[in-house]
Structure formats: C-alpha cells, structure tokens
C-alpha cells in the first residue's frame, strides 16, 4: 500500500506510547502507597512493546503485548505507630522508583511527539500529492 499505512504504523506507536504514559502515571501516583486492596503494597508496572506486521515487507507497527509487575523488594520503613505496620513494626511501601519513572515518562513523551510529527509530515505530503497537476 501507499503512504496511507504510515497512519496505521505511527498511530499504533502513538497508542502504545500513550499506554506507557498511562502506566507511568499510575506508578507515579502510587509512589507512596502503603497497601493495595489485596493487602500488598503497590508493585511498579512496566509495558512490554512488540512489533506487529501491518502488511508489506518493512511496514511494522507496535503493540503493547503485556504489562509486567516489578519484583523489586518493597521499600520497608520502620514505623511501629503506623496502622499498616507488621509485627516487627515495619511498613511496606510500593517499590516504585520515581527517578526511573520520570525517565520513562520523558522517553515516552518524546517518542509520542516523534510519531505525531511523522504523521503530520505524511499528511502534508499526501495533500501535496493530491494537488498534483493542478
């Protein structure tokens, strides 16, 4: 197919990156969470990207193939007066690393912008092609 499939390719990348941004936002919001509904502290989540063929030899989009949970040990802080403290007086905080999340966020937003720019360029080229011969 012609350049129209650029919109599919870049569109899939934009939606995958926005999903990544969503996960980052969820992680950042839960930086100081003590215990979730299951009684466990929040585990940092990460999206996994995968290539999807979209017709044509080198026309590949992206999809989020899954969301993984980090198995880094929880941050344990000694605070016996805390309502969620365990028998030893320790409180389990989420294992989100805010620095990692910020880096992830910047990377995701840059990739998002890149793909939007690609779509804009493709659009203007297609519009110019439409005006061919006029």
């Amino acid at each position: 197919m012609s350049m129209f499939s650029i919109f599919n390719v870049s569109g899939s990348a934009v939606s995958a990156q926005s999903q990544r941004l969503n996960v980052v936002a969820s992680n950042m919001a839960n930086v100081d969470t003590v215990a979730g509904p299951d009684g466990q502290a929040y585990k940092a989540r990460q999206v996994v990207f995968q290539t999807v063929p979209m017709g044509g030899e080198a026309t590949n989009g992206v999809k989020v193939s899954g969301v993984t949970e980090s198995n880094v040990p929880f941050k344990r802080i000694h605070d016996p007066n805390h309502p969620s403290a365990d028998a030893d007086g320790y409180v389990n905080y989420s294992n989100v690393n805010p620095v990692e999340e910020m880096v992830n966020m910047i990377s995701a937003s840059r990739s998002y912008q890149n793909n939007i720019e690609v779509m804009n360029t493709a659009k203007s080229l297609l519009l110019k092609t439409l005006q061919l011969g006029q």
């Binding site: 870049s10 044509g56 030899e57 026309t59 590949n60 992206v62 690609v118 493709a122 080229l125």
Partner: protein, 150 residues
C-alpha cells in the same frame, strides 16, 4: 513518439513510488524505536531506482522471455506466499534490496534504531519526495502548454 513524450514523467513517477515506500519504512523504524529486538530497515535509493528503471527499459525486450513469469505465477489462495521478484504488493520485492540497519550505539535490548539517523532520513526523504512532486508538476505543465500551444 508518444512513448518518449512521457518517458521523463515515468522516471519521476517511479522515483516518487520509491520515495513513498522509503517514507513508510522510515515511519516503521521510528514507530519501533522502543521495541526490544527490532532491527531497523532501509534501502539504497540510488541502486533500487537504477534497478527499477533498468527493468522497465528492458521490459519490452524481455517480455517474450522469462519475465512472463510475473503473470504466470498467480496466487489463487489468500495464504499463498509471494515468490520474491514476482511482484506482490511491495515494490521492493523485485529488487530484494531491503537492508538491515546496524547499531550505531549498541543497546542491551537489541534494538538497532538510531532515532537521530531515522529522523534525519525521514526529513531528507520528505523533502526529496516534494521535489520529485514538483518535477512531475513542472514537466506535466510544460507538456500541457506544448499541447495547447498557447
């Protein structure tokens, strides 16, 4: 005589098709800049265009010989695989020149997309696409004014 009239247009239209193809490949590379294990693709424009124009120049003479293959190999089932060099939906399949990009700054996840390189190629390719468009426009205007004679 009329075959020669549009020969220049034909060359530029082939170049335009190739530019569109390259634009799509570069868009795929940029889309997969964060996908683990993805290998960047690209092709040598000059070589591929050379092959395309050569094949079209010799198409008439070769039509009686082996090139009739393109028409004779028909995919009669949606799951048939295209034989390389017999057409298909990709204009590159006949040339087989799709190359893999190498890692300029190796990363642990095995992704070989260099975003700076891809973006530069993308902008370069879009400018060249536009210039090809202008060539076609100019040439067709010249032809039209010659035909109308006014």
């Amino acid at each position: 005589m009329f075959a020669k009239l549009t020969a220049g247009l034909d060359f530029h239209s082939k170049a335009l098709v190739l530019r569109a193809e390259r634009q799509r490949i570069l868009a795929s590379n940029i889309a997969n800049a964060d996908t683990p294990g993805y290998v960047a693709r690209d092709f040598n424009f000059k070589e591929t265009l050379g092959q395309m124009t050569q094949s079209s120049a010799s198409q008439l003479s070769q039509a009686s010989r082996g090139l009739g293959l393109q028409a004779s190999v028909a995919s009669t089932h949606p799951r048939h695989i295209d034989i390389a060099g017999t057409g298909g939906n990709s204009t590159l399949s006949g040339t087989g020149a799709l190359a893999y990009g190498t890692q300029s700054q190796p990363s642990v996840d095995g992704n070989s997309v260099d975003l700076d390189r891809e973006r530069a190629s993308f902008v370069d390719n879009s400018v060249r696409y536009e210039s090809t468009l202008r060539f076609i426009n100019g040439q067709s205007k010249t032809l039209l004014s010659a035909i109308q004679g006014q």
